[in-house]
């Protein structure tokens, strides 16, 4: 299935991209799965997304836990803990 992935703030800079449409392998079905799939892309991806890095995630603009399931067409965002206000 295809999902739209977005990155914000420091994560966007580290990865050098604001995001992309991506076709997921069949075994990637959750946000955690997508995160580890992306982390395998190379050194900067691993450095930014590896477990242990404090990252927040949203699916279709709602904050979610890593266990959240994905479906085709979802907008999945990865970003650092927020610092507004």
């Amino acid at each position: 299935m295809k999902v739209k992935v977005l990155f914000f703030a420091g994560l966007r800079e580290q990865l050098g991209t604001p995001g992309e449409e991506i076709e997921l392998p069949r075994d990637v079905t959750t946000v955690a799965g997508l995160r580890s799939y992306l982390a395998q892309r190379g050194a900067s991806w691993k450095g930014a997304l590896s477990e242990g890095k404090l990252i927040r995630m949203a699916v279709n603009q709602d904050m979610v836990q890593q266990t959240a399931a994905l479906k085709a067409g979802d907008e999945v965002a990865f970003f650092p803990p927020v610092t507004g206000g």
């Binding site: 914000f8 970003f79 507004g84 206000g85």
Partner: protein, 149 residues
């Protein structure tokens, strides 16, 4: 309810006057956040930002009497002394207005997708989230606390 994410400045007295037009309103509590010391750029997640703020206001309205509410958050380049955020809550009495205003601000700090990048002499750096902000939001969990109106 008015929620606006904008690059322009806002005027506190204009916003609070709009909130006090309803004759049943007896209290407007407001908070204005200001840039401290260092120039910064604020990034946000268009769409999610507005939705998350609306949800926070709805959550506040479920706990306290909120007759109307205005939240304005700026993005883009800001200088020391610039206003960043306004939360203003209209209610019949001050207790609800104060509590709801503080609640919205605490949740906005941990839930609304904004990120600050400071521009210091030694270079630019993203501001790190503070544990004290999480604690400020967590203290609202549990039954709502009513203050005297």
């Amino acid at each position: 309810m008015k929620v606006s994410v904008q690059d322009q400045d806002f005027d506190l007295s204009t916003e609070t006057r709009l909130l006090s037009k309803n004759p049943k309103v007896g209290a407007v509590a407001s908070f204005v956040g200001v840039v401290r010391e260092v120039p910064m750029t604020l990034e946000h997640y268009p769409g999610m930002t507005e939705n998350s703020i609306r949800k926070i206001v709805e959550e506040a309205a479920a706990r306290w009497q909120v007759m109307d509410c205005t939240v304005i958050h700026r993005h883009g380049a800001l200088q020391p002394g610039d206003q960043i955020v306004l939360v203003a809550v209209a209610s019949a009495h001050r207790g609800d207005a104060f509590s709801a205003c503080e609640f919205i601000m605490d949740y906005l700090k941990t839930q609304a997708p904004f990120w600050k990048k400071e521009h210091r002499a030694e270079g630019a750096r993203w501001v790190e989230a503070r544990a004290s902000d999480d604690q400020a939001a967590e203290r609202w969990q549990g039954p709502p606390r009513k203050k005297a109106g």
